[in-house]
Subunit: 203 residues, 4 copies
DNA sequence: AATGAATGAGCCTTCATTCAT
DNA sequence: GATGAATGAAGGCTCATTCAT
């Protein structure tokens, strides 16, 4: 898993970390190449431009996040599904091991590039539609617009802890809402969401 | 109020717009000065550095956002308070008129600068504590940690629609969650939050 | 004449020499700035780009060549006019003192840039029309097309010694057709041209 | 002759076109190889360096131009010889079919490379000496230096229409002195040259 | 109080060339 | 006989900042 992979793969990995840490503009091709142990010209050789490398990196991040923490929507039990989805989301955005992926996405949202369109269609829309279908199963009475508000209510709460992390760290210290809190956060979000839907009072 | 103000004030206004649109790194001192109708050296003359101008701009943005949409927590009725808070938040982050302020904050969260510490303490902590106190009044039984999860549940949902705007625009069109949806969003968020708290079923 | 002129003027002079010696692509902004004793960023500051500097340099070269060796077409005597024109042309293209101007033009002809259009209209067309008018005075019987062939016959011979210089130097040594030959070349070109026109047999 | 030749031959052909169009510096090894349908490393493999390829290309261009439009100096009649030489020169430099060869030479003259020495000796000197001999046959009275001025008067006029083409195109449109004008240009140049020599008044 | 000229550091990109296969 | 991957050098340009006026 950590053997010397090809230059291209190493660049992709290094780019993810640097882009996440410094942003597209802040990241320098130099630093990416150095971190990847590659020549300065390697980015242009393998990807054509910094921009194109970024695009590829974003795709790669979503792809590998999905592989790592897949969100399945095919179970029977809605409450269980909700819990599973919430945990999967939190881990995806939050988990320390690949935490740069979460930061990368956060940056892309704050400062969308042309790459966002594709990523939104390919990776985010299915997620939204998955939750939407879940809500529909729990509350077939809601019209699509109302349903969607519930959907975003759920997703919004998950995303918040990634999004607001910089502030939370500064106000409450980095431990207060760290990775080890994921189970607690997940339980709270899931159960309050279910309550909102009128599905259950206590897990 | 709209007479030809001093160079300093014009710079602050121009910087807000440019920083919001392009980010700290993307914004150039040149473009800010041009927009402000000031000399290229004016930024360094009045603020010392681009960094310092940014800090000042961020403060300025929060200050004027608070003046414009103050969040009051001194009313009697908790449900009414929650509704008022949610609307105030959404307008603050969302309203088109000064929408660059929302973008500016979004950027700062995605890419925190040293200025965030101060802003978090001065402007965000009071907000969190206000909501926290509100939750305490509604549910004195909760311990502080649990209370905070509710607090963030509320804030998270408000912030989401600003945060995810780029994706929502791309997936559902810019109208779907535009400014005119604020009342509807606010009502949903507030009422589902109250339900979560066990406070009411119907406003 | 050699006091420390402004940076802009020094850049223009240095650029002329370097562009003439190395061509547009071969010339580096670095070397131009060094030769001008200016900072590396000076070119972009004063001219906006290497391209724009080149354009300005070309204009400057023609302008100062014209100032230095003006071609007057207002005399009475056609043969004298022809001689005067030929010498002025040869000196303009050939004279060692500012010889880089000749090289610069030669390069521009071999590899025209967008700047050529303007230079052709502003500086070359008047020259052609001047000679054309001269020919017309000598031979009113010719139709415009035929007249023009004579015009180009004259100009072509002048230009040749600049154009072919690299070959002539290599085949016959740099002295054979050097600057000190200008009077002899001029006399030959002028008198054979006049003979062609049927104007005189011997000056 | 048009079957899929070897890589080397294809490179030579492609290089001619690209060097003519873009100049030595402007041409990239990449574009040459692409046009030749060869690998990026093919140039270095077959020729050792871009420089060496250029040298070879220049030789090739002169060789094939000479093969295509040979200049013969062995006829009896001087006027006829002059006419034939002029037309051959004009076609060589001018003809659209292989027009890149003319451009290539023009560039080499404006920006001589080390390859010019050899080309000048091998291909240009014989030309000059041929015309020189022609002039000598017509005017045995002239001393060598004077003779040479006539020689260059002739060659200069031929070369001019290639050399000044960019300006002529811009000032009079691309049709005014296009390929179809070669006979007219040739006749004018030849007959006025003969007149200069005192040989004839009317062909 | 304000500015025009100038600067130094750094960035992305291009390109000819090399080398193992 | 030929190639795909990789590299080192260099180039044009941008930008925040400085400084004399």
């Amino acid at each position: 898993m950590d053997e010397p992979r090809g230059t291209r793969a190493r660049l992709l990995e290094a780019a993810g970390e640097v882009f996440a840490a410094e942003g597209f503009r802040g990241a320098t091709v130099r630093s990416i190449c150095e971190r990847a142990g590659a020549n300065l010209a390697a980015v242009n050789y393998h990807f054509g431009s910094k921009q194109a490398l970024y695009r590829e990196t974003l795709r790669h991040a979503f792809e590998s996040a999905r592989r790592r923490h897949p969100a399945r929507f095919d179970g029977e039990d809605v409450p269980e599904q909700v819990r599973s989805f919430v945990l999967s989301m939190l881990r995806r955005l939050y988990s320390v091991g690949r935490s740069w992926q979460g930061r990368l996405v956060a940056r892309e949202l704050a400062d969308p590039s042309e790459a966002l369109q594709e990523v939104a269609e390919t990776h985010i829309r299915p997620l939204i539609e998955g939750v939407d279908a879940l809500v529909e199963r729990a509350r077939p009475d809601l019209d699509p617009d109302a349903r969607r508000l519930y959907t975003f209510g759920l997703i919004g709460q998950c995303v918040f802890f990634r999004h607001a992390r910089p502030v939370l760290d500064r106000l409450f210290g980095p431990e207060a809402f760290g990775e080890e809190q994921i189970p607690a956060l997940g339980e709270h979000i899931a159960s309050s969401f279910l309550k909102t839907l009128g599905l259950e009072v206590r897990a």
